[in-house]
Each structure stands twice: as structure tokens, then as C-alpha cells.
Subunit: 153 residues, 3 copies
């Protein structure tokens, strides 16, 4: 086990308690050596931060911070399921950005999530990523982030 | 092998014959212990149900039913490839919802697919999920659903 | 090892050198027997081809060619990481198409990428696929393609 909890402590990063989704799905599922998370929104203590369209209601900076929060919630879902210390590497990040017409800076938005993974996990946080601009997200969220993580067997 | 076919019978659920897509792709692929399906549309006997944008042409109720149909077609693709009785668990559901401006109830739409998985597979149907609202879907479909399924070795 | 390099040569297909993305992510990651690529854009020698919305600024034919290029860049990312000869099969292709209002031919766009996989890998190139129409893509790209590939152990 790698002591990622120690690393989180030294960075002053606290993983939140994941909100339980209503219905026949869960925040994360383990299968074999992998954890797949559900799409995570930038909730902070039950409140959705920075709702709206990026490039219109929401600035790039706000969206970048929201992507970091959504990424943090994704890690919280992993932690709740298997414990963060079992993370071997972050494999994939997919990020959806609710985008105003003409907004094409989705990668800079998603860097908020990607840089969080790098800060915490270093080389083990380097991942493949897709960033996509979409019409509408659940509850009017500006970003949604899902991850695939390799964990110890 | 779990007798999911018996469960389907008792629920009165009939898996349709999957339509064969044209071109260099297929409804589902097995690799190792996993089946990945293609994005499935709510076809019923070759006819696309509930086309249009949800929140405009299509109601939430219609879209929820369409998501259930798309999920059923995804299971049909799995069944056609490996037999539904080899399902170990539903790992992931990704759903795209063609959304009118301001429609943000994508999770309630996708519950149509998620609840189908729960009805059939019980605990083995509990999955991670992402729900996203998009501009346009193939053929004007209101929903598109893809799944990742763990199957027996 | 299958001699896919020989096949590429006989087809006259040259895999480009992948552009290195800026930030805490990479063009492709290997985990176990799989390579996941990042979402790839139709860059040719650092220049984005066919930017804009398909069905408006970009024709179906141009978008189909762009999807082929994005798929080629995805294969280049795989080759750069593990060597193309280690490919066992193409498992999944996900394609996002920046779509003008009313454009619903995303599958015909993505055939550009799918047919490339078929040309190169034959039966091993037959994959599951999702094609989705979205509002905006990074840098104003008309298409973005990511793949999951099974590779030798």
C-alpha cells in the first residue's frame, strides 16, 4: 500500500464524504483491479458550486476550480469504496464541460482535475484524458468528471 | 452460470434481437472478462422511439422509457455475444441525453436504464454511471446508452 | 507479435509522431493488457484540420476525413507507447462530433475512424463504438476520438 493518505495530509487535502446517489447506481464500482466512478459534480457539502455554462455564466477560472472539486469528489468515491492507499494509478479521466457557444477551452477547465491527480499521486497520477464540451449537465452543473483507477489486487 | 434467463422470464422481459450496425463496428465486443457495448438507441423492431430533444419534443417520462429501451438493447447485445447468464455484474452505464436548452434532468432520464439493471440483476446490477446532456444524437435519437459488463471467464 | 507495421507499410499508412499534451496527462496510458488513449483531435503536423461544426462549417465528407485522422492519431499514441505490433484488438472507439443544430449523421462521420481500424487490423479492428454529437470541442475541433486497445501481455 502506498501512503497516499500521508501525501493528502501533507498537501492539506481532505477527501469529502461522497454523497449517495439516489437509485440503482453508486458513486463507484470495483471490478478486478479497477475502480470506475460515476460522473462526479463539483458539490461542496451538498451544494453545487459554479453552476451554469462556462464562457457565459461561469469563468474559466471558476470552471477550473469546479473541475478540481469534481475530481476530488471522484477520489472521495474511490476512497470510500477501497481506500485511497490502494490506488496504483489513475488510468483515465473523462471530463464534460457545459459550454457556452464558442467556448473551446475545455482542456484548460479539465486541467483543474488533472493537476489535482498530479499533485497527489505524482507519476501515478499521470493519466489519459478526454475533454468534451456539452449542451447541458445534471442539475445545471458546469462540469462533470469520471475516472478509472487501477487499484491493488 | 446465474440463471438470469429465468429471472427475465419471471419479469416478462424479452431481450430483442440486436440490429446489426453497418460498417467496421459491432454491437458488443468481449475482451477478457468484460463486454463493452456500442452506444445503443431506443429501437423497437427497427423503429426509433421518442426521437427529438428531451425537455422540448420529448417528455421526461418518454425519455425515461426510451432510456430503458436503450438499456434493454444494450443487454440484448451482451446476450447475443456471450449469453445473458454469463453476466457477473453491470460495471458502468454511460448515458447521453439529447437535451433542449435548460433541461438538466439527465439523471432521471437515465434511471430508466439503471432501474432495468436493478430489476433484472439485483445487487449485480448496481453500477457506476455518467449522465450527460448533449446537442445531437445519431438519427435524432433522444437517448444513447452504452454499458460495460463483467462476465464469466 | 503481429506484423501490423508491415500491414501499415503495404497500405501506405504512416503513423504520425504524437503531439505531447501540456499538463498532467499523456496521449495514452497502459494498464495491464489495455491501452487507453486520450481524446485525439485531427491534427496534421500540428495543424488542426476541418475545425468548426459539422453540418454547418464542415461537410460530412470533411468530418469523415477528420475522424480518420483523429483515429490515426489515436493509433500513433498507442504505437508511441507500446508499439503497434503489440495490438491484439481494438476494443472500443468513442467519437464526439461537434454538431450543428439538426445534424444527426454522427455514425457516418465516425465511420472514418472505424474503417481505418478495419483496413489496418481486419477482424482485430472490429470494435464497439459510441458516436455522440456535442456542442463544442477543444480548440474548435469538429471531431474527437478516443480508443481502448487490447495489447500483448
Amino acid at each position: 500500500m502506498t501512503a497516499w493518505t500521508t501525501r493528502l495530509d501533507s498537501l492539506g487535502i481532505v477527501l469529502p464524504t461522497p454523497a449517495k446517489p439516489v437509485g440503482a447506481y453508486v458513486p463507484a464500482v470495483r471490478t478486478g483491479s479497477y475502480v470506475y466512478t460515476s460522473g462526479q459534480l463539483p458539490f461542496v457539502e451538498g451544494r453545487l458550486t459554479a453552476p451554469g455554462k462556462v464562457g457565459d455564466d461561469v469563468t474559466l477560472e471558476q470552471a477550473n476550480a469546479a473541475a478540481r472539486l469534481a475530481g476530488l469528489n471522484a477520489l472521495a468515491a474511490v476512497h470510500d469504496l477501497v481506500g485511497i492507499d490502494s490506488v496504483v494509478r489513475i488510468v483515465k479521466v473523462v471530463g464534460f464541460v457545459a459550454s457556452a457557444a464558442g467556448f473551446t477551452e475545455q482542456p484548460r477547465v479539465l486541467n483543474g482535475a488533472s493537476e489535482l491527480m498530479g499533485e497527489i499521486f505524482g507519476e501515478a497520477g499521470v493519466h489519459a484524458r478526454s475533454a468534451v464540451g456539452v449542451a447541458e449537465l445534471p442539475l445545471g452543473s458546469s462540469v462533470e468528471v469520471e475516472i478509472i483507477v487501477e487499484v491493488q489486487g
